[in-house]
Subunit: 341 residues, 2 copies
Amino acid sequence: MKKRPTITDVAKHAGVSKASVSYVLNNVKKVSQSTKERVLLSIEELGYEPDFTAVSLTRQRSQLIGIILPLVNQSIASVMRENTYYNEMISAVEQRARESGFDLLLTGLSRPEHYRTWVQKRKLDGLLFFGLFPKEIYDEMRSIDVPAVLIDTYEEHTDRYPSVNIEDEKGAYLATRHLAELGHTRILFTGTNLKNPVENYRFQGYQRACRESGIASMHPVETFHYHGFKSGYEAAEKVTATDATAVFCTSDIIAQGLIRALFEQGIRVPEDLSVAGFDDIHSSRYSIPSLTTIRQQIQLKGDAAAGKLLEAMKGGSPEPEVLDVSLIVRESTAPLSKGSA
Amino acid sequence: MKKRPTITDVAKHAGVSKASVSYVLNNVKKVSQSTKERVLLSIEELGYEPDFTAVSLTRQRSQLIGIILPLVNQSIASVMRENTYYNEMISAVEQRARESGFDLLLTGLSRPEHYRTWVQKRKLDGLLFFGLFPKEIYDEMRSIDVPAVLIDTYEEHTDRYPSVNIEDEKGAYLATRHLAELGHTRILFTGTNLKNPVENYRFQGYQRACRESGIASMHPVETFHYHGFKSGYEAAEKVTATDATAVFCTSDIIAQGLIRALFEQGIRVPEDLSVAGFDDIHSSRYSIPSLTTIRQQIQLKGDAAAGKLLEAMKGGSPEPEVLDVSLIVRESTAPLSKGSA
DNA sequence: TTGTAGGCGTTATCAA
DNA sequence: TTGATAACGCCTACAA
């Protein structure tokens, strides 16, 4: 394998100095038209491409964007292997990043105190946080002031870092109201953990809808697992122990797991129990029954996050963004029927 | 933000030369116990961590592993957002890589001719190919001899690069035989494209099972799409146009899409039509009906691929590996009944 | 065993 | 407008 040409080769070939080549490369400074042409020609002829590792060293930046995913059991597996929510977002980010000349570094770091050095060692240009992390991590990041964008994160971090969120409260409100309008008066809220602000807002939306509909909120079911099938599957027990005729789940994947468990118990959805989800991940249109859910435009969200990060990396101060959501009615919800549980 | 310490700082702090620090860092050469201790102490005190970009430049390698995903419509989205097959594997790879001090670079490159420079610019240490790519890409990679491991790839590339595959032929055979044993005599094969060796082997397995069962193979249905719900959903038309009473699909995601389409047409699975899939992705245990399928241990596959790559990067020559598969019988297949289509 | 110095490929400073 | 040349942070002969 012949070595690839360096800037020195180009300089020689064009009969100019390395500096000049660098100038035209980064079109900085004025370069005479003639040398510029000569340099460009040499670059073309030699098939030269700048070496990122060298550029990284001098520029102190890497053209790399780090994606921070939640770790469950020392692995991002739980988060990637069932719920395509993250994957849909990552793919959107990847495309946007690639178009702008950035590559994506994927990781779930194990220990918070490692983040900082990781970012520094790699000289990451920007970070995308998918979800909420321990507070100390944000502090670490701030101390090395690396641009970052937070997705699905509320709290005080947001006013320091740009964020992309959705109308969580509204989404849950819409779903719950939909169920109420179908005649349900015993509507259950099922989530993973109300300590998470995202879910908490959704719970508030649920409560508001109940209030406005003149029905009583029920004690929420929390699974204390991540958003996966199993979480919903195992929640079934708690769900069936109530007299609810309708359930709002804070994610589609939980809803799907729940529906599966109900199916095994002979409880029909929606005939016996209506179930609504949240996210509108891809599979929800294809599941049986297809899922009534709150659509958040996941790809748009990823794209927006990537866009804001690119802007922040250029020195801008992008505004936080809150994307709208909408109710998608499919097969998993139905009017309250006489025979309901 | 205070600058992070460099090797020079450590050297000063310890009262030795940069070289000595480097020596203990890479424990190369003999270093006296005393200086070694002093250096380690300084490293500890200063919280020093080597800068990867600098190391990359001198060592000519990056501690980075590139993941090459198929691009559909200029995006890896299609491949990541529905079928968790890839995601399950990526997460396994990520964990293994992280444990060994490597980070993952995620990408779907648009143009084959870009791969080479991409790998070189980033000084990637190794590549993981998920699926089959245009031949020219392998040639490019060979020309810069970067270690790589191919997943789900047959053909002559395999004898140059280590590969991880599964018993594709056997898997399809098992599934088809299962359907035949249930009494089905009109069994349909549905895949995306028989030109892909993986699918072709599966077709051969299908044919063998038919032969051994004394039933006629049917003309295969090809969707000519990637493995997604839509692919299966749209295949329904072709499927129902036949007199098949059972269908073997080359992926779970296709099977799920197909089942959904059948559901909409009032065709019950498995009562009216048995459907078997391939992969055993996570959702297949939770779908309704749950899917009879061929299990490939996806995480194991990813882990094996990562392991081989790590070995190859150390200069080893890992053997190709073919993982076993097994039949998982669930709800989507049933004995042929009188009333079947 | 330890230190000096050159090099990795670019960018950036400063003269010329 | 251009060209030396010194960083950037680390590794590694080669010397000492």
